[in-house]
């Protein structure tokens, strides 16, 4: 039994402690990418920097990940509204979009390789591989959360409980965060 699940257990908190903890975790992920992107800037300023075009997959993928955020949000909406059918199917759609994103990132890396921008080449390329790769690795966490959500959706009997709402909201928050992070990274690569 968790010590903090029930509302009356907490005195000072407006937000559920687990959600707060998730935000704190996101802050540390922000710092990870802030460090890498600043390293990118510092390294670029030092010269000997290969310019190349980002693979188109990265741009299409932005639409995919935004789409998945929308479908997940909608799934949550129908979950609360009591429409089990739409809730389940939209969840599946979000999951598929998430997997598509990962697949397209991979094909983006292959595309970079095919134009001669290799991982072990000039740091300008290495940075793109590493940063987008780490983003994908963090996205896997979101995929795992969605798998849990899918299991709940299809195995458990449909019921709106506080516990399940909380879990869904946390998955949702993390997924949106991953989407925003990707948009930031892409803008960063494009503008830099």
């Amino acid at each position: 039994m968790d010590l903090s699940v029930k509302k009356e257990r907490r005195y000072h908190s407006k937000i559920h402690p687990h959600k707060f903890a998730l935000w704190a975790g996101c802050a540390s992920i922000v710092m990870l990418f802030a460090a890498l992107t600043s390293a990118y800037i510092v390294r670029k300023a030092a010269g000997n920097w290969l310019e190349f075009k980002l693979p188109v997959q990265f741009f299409y993928n932005t639409i995919v990940i935004i789409g998945s955020s929308i479908t997940l949000q909608a799934s949550y909406y129908f979950f609360k509204k009591g429409n089990a059918q739409l809730y389940r199917s939209l969840l599946v759609v979000s999951f598929i979009l998430g997997m598509v994103f990962l697949g397209m990132q991979y094909s983006g890396w292959l595309a970079m390789e095919s134009i001669g921008v290799e991982l072990a080449g000039n740091p300008s390329g290495s940075f793109v591989y590493v940063i987008s790769g780490l983003h994908a690795a963090h996205l896997l966490g979101g995929i795992a959360a969605m798998i849990v959500a899918l299991v709940h959706a299809f195995v458990l009997k449909y019921k709106v409980t506080n516990q399940r709402k909380l879990r869904f909201e946390m998955t949702l928050t993390y997924w949106h965060f991953m989407g925003i992070l990707w948009i930031y990274l892409l803008l960063f690569f494009v503008l830099q």
Binding site: M1, Y11, P17, H18, F20, L32
Partner: protein, 616 residues
């Protein structure tokens, strides 16, 4: 002085806050079997003990290493053959029976000593122990926000330790490139013996360690911000809690940056990238790596590294503030100033990192910027020191071991902080950088001072942890010996440093310029050995007292005001048997209106209420 009469049980029952905790049967899950109670415990008090005892083990290992390399520095001519059974092939014995320490292993020892002490002992052992023990108890929570993540935090730390420990036994030795792991020694597996498997295990260990710090830190922050009891406003929190909170925030924001640096190192090592490597020749052969920048690594490392030193010292400051106030029987002087200076130090700690890099070829104009902010840190530091001394001034001081160590902390922080001001000037640092002056600076201000804060905390809260006292006489011997011994070790190093003696050298006796320091080095080594044995005395006192110490007779043996002293002597799961206590006042009502101390759970008197209204 009069005393206020109160009965915790009645107060908590009448005023407390019913969270329906005891309506359900969940205590058993935590405490039933041996394994769930002592090993995979989710109870914050047990996890605190796990962090503490693991930290102590590491401290003994880390300090033992320093004794070995101090022997080498103090007595470079003498035989170390007697260490062969322990160190094996790292000691070579010649025909005359003289044993010498392998130079590569000397570096490995220095590296491991730094890594172990900085990360495993003074980060995990210090803030892991006391954040876990005190946050729920002092803010009035049943446990951490997520006991499960809290348990995982310990086990990640434990696993990180196991990996580091195994690396000691590699045939090529553990990593030997310094605790800061600068490339190329860290980024090129072929750069030195320890750069191979040793470095791989070092990175693996540290990444797990960071996971531990993050899991712990997220929990600490969430618990402090969300699970405080009724009446426990932020401005009523003891300074310990403020310190742990800010420490956790610093860790959360800076450790990921270290991870990013380590990731890039791993790519350079394993996948041929060139983030930190450029134009390197090994054995006359040019490597493929082109275009990397080792200075970039230093930026990333010190962006963590500098906040890290405050991650180590802030908890010690919090513990010291609390102990000083309790045993001086006086409110802490300038409570709000203390909080604001913690905040200022924390903020500034993020914009001074390049003071570690004045000599790494950073632009001198950029150095100026860092000099200014570095020197500004002296201001909030001085505020804290002033307030500690003012707290002591005119106090009714009880010179118990905890108090002695807290006062010792203040002394050490002053001595070590002053040398920081020298180093913070880029021009002076040209002479001082990478000398024993730096070694003296950071050992006094961080190493010894943080240990003193930790000792103060252990002696003070031991009754809370084990329901017994530690032996007071041994505690005082421990204090005086360590205090004098620590200065004897590190004070002379300032002179070595000013004379230009570089750090991390294997021996000095064959340099003309430095050979006359032979006796000073011997003196330091002998002092270090004595201090080492005094710590063993402490460890013995600790473990014997767990079973044989004097039993605590009342819930609040020190006459303190904070909530942890309202819990049963033998801790229970959920901390309070009935309601959670409600808080009516700040943590420092000592000597108020002629009353010796008033606990936080005691409601305001009519007179106090009137006075409070006058203020508005």
């Amino acid at each position: 002085m009069s005393v206020v009469n109160y009965d915790e049980d009645v107060l908590i029952k009448e005023q407390g806050f019913d969270d329906h905790f005891h309506d359900h049967h969940h205590g058993d899950k935590y405490q039933s079997g041996f394994i769930t109670k002592y090993i995979f415990s989710q109870d914050h008090k047990m996890i605190a003990k796990q962090f503490l005892i693991t930290g102590m083990m590491w401290a003994i290992i880390g300090a033992g290493m320093s004794i070995i390399f101090r022997l080498q520095l103090g007595f470079p001519e003498d035989s170390l053959a007697w260490l062969k059974p322990l160190l094996g092939k790292w000691i070579t014995v010649n025909d005359a029976g003289i044993g010498t320490l392998a130079p590569e292993f000397y570096y490995a020892l220095v590296t491991m000593h730094g890594t172990i002490l900085v990360f495993f002992v003074l980060t995990a052992g210090l803030s892991g122990t006391f954040s876990n023990l005190l946050i729920p108890l002092q803010v009035g929570a049943r446990d951490m926000a997520s006991p499960l993540l809290n348990m995982l935090s310990y086990w990640f730390f434990f696993t990180a330790g196991i990996i580091m420990f195994c690396s000691l036994f590699l045939s090529t030795g553990p990593f030997a490139g310094g605790w800061t792991a600068y490339p190329p020694l860290s980024a090129l597996p072929q750069a030195s013996d320890g750069s191979g498997a040793g470095m791989t295990m070092w990175v693996a260990s540290l990444v797990l360690f960071v996971v531990s710090v993050l899991l712990g830190g997220i929990n600490y922050i969430t618990t402090v911000l969300n699970l405080r009891t009724k009446g426990m406003t932020m401005w009523r929190m003891p300074l310990t809690i403020w310190a742990f909170l800010i420490t956790a925030i610093l860790g959360l924001l800076s450790f990921p940056v270290l991870v990013s640096a380590l990731f890039l190192v791993m790519f350079d090592r394993g996948l041929g990238t060139s983030f930190f490597l450029s134009e390197i020749f090994i054995g006359g052969e040019a490597l493929n790596h082109v275009g990397g920048s080792p200075v970039l690594y230093q930026h990333l490392f010190w962006f963590l590294g500098h906040p890290e030193v405050y991650i180590i010292i802030l908890p010690a400051m919090g513990l010291t503030s609390e102990v000083l106030s309790v045993h001086a029987r006086k409110p802490i002087f300038g409570y709000k100033a203390m909080v604001f200076s913690i905040l200022a130090i924390a903020f500034l700690s993020f914009i001074v990192w390049a003071h570690h890099m004045f000599m790494s070829g950073v632009n001198p104009f950029i150095s100026n910027f860092f000099v200014i902010f570095t020197l500004i840190i002296a201001v909030p530091s001085a505020v804290k020191v002033f307030n500690w001394i003012a707290t002591l001034y005119g106090g009714n001081i009880r010179f118990v071991s905890a108090m002695l160590f807290a006062i010792g902390f203040v002394s050490l922080f002053i001595s070590g902080g002053l040398t920081g001001i020298f180093l913070g000037n880029a021009a002076i640092d040209i002479q001082m950088h990478d000398t024993y002056f730096v070694v003296a600076h950071f050992h006094i201000v961080m190493g010894i001072a943080a240990f003193f804060g930790m000792f103060a905390g252990i002696y003070h809260w031991f009754p809370k942890m084990y329901g017994r006292f530690m032996n007071e006489t041994l505690g005082r011997i421990h204090f005086w010996g360590t205090m004098i011994g620590a200065y004897a070790i590190f004070w002379p190093m300032h002179y070595l440093g000013m004379a230009g003696v570089p750090r991390r050298y294997y021996r000095f006796d064959n340099f003309d310029t430095f050979s006359h320091f032979g006796q000073m080095n011997q003196f330091i080594t002998i002092a270090a050995i004595i201090v080492f044995f005094l710590q063993i005395l402490f460890v013995v006192n600790f473990f014997v007292s767990i079973w044989k110490g004097k039993r605590v007779a009342t819930k609040n043996p020190w006459g303190a005001t904070t909530l942890e002293w309202t819990t049963p002597i033998d801790g229970i799961h959920g901390n309070w048997p009935g309601n959670i206590p409600a808080v009516h006042r700040w943590a420092y009502d000592y000597g108020k209106d002629g009353v010796e101390f008033i606990p936080q759970i005691v409601p305001l008197t009519e007179k106090e209420k009137e006075n409070a209204e006058d203020l508005h």
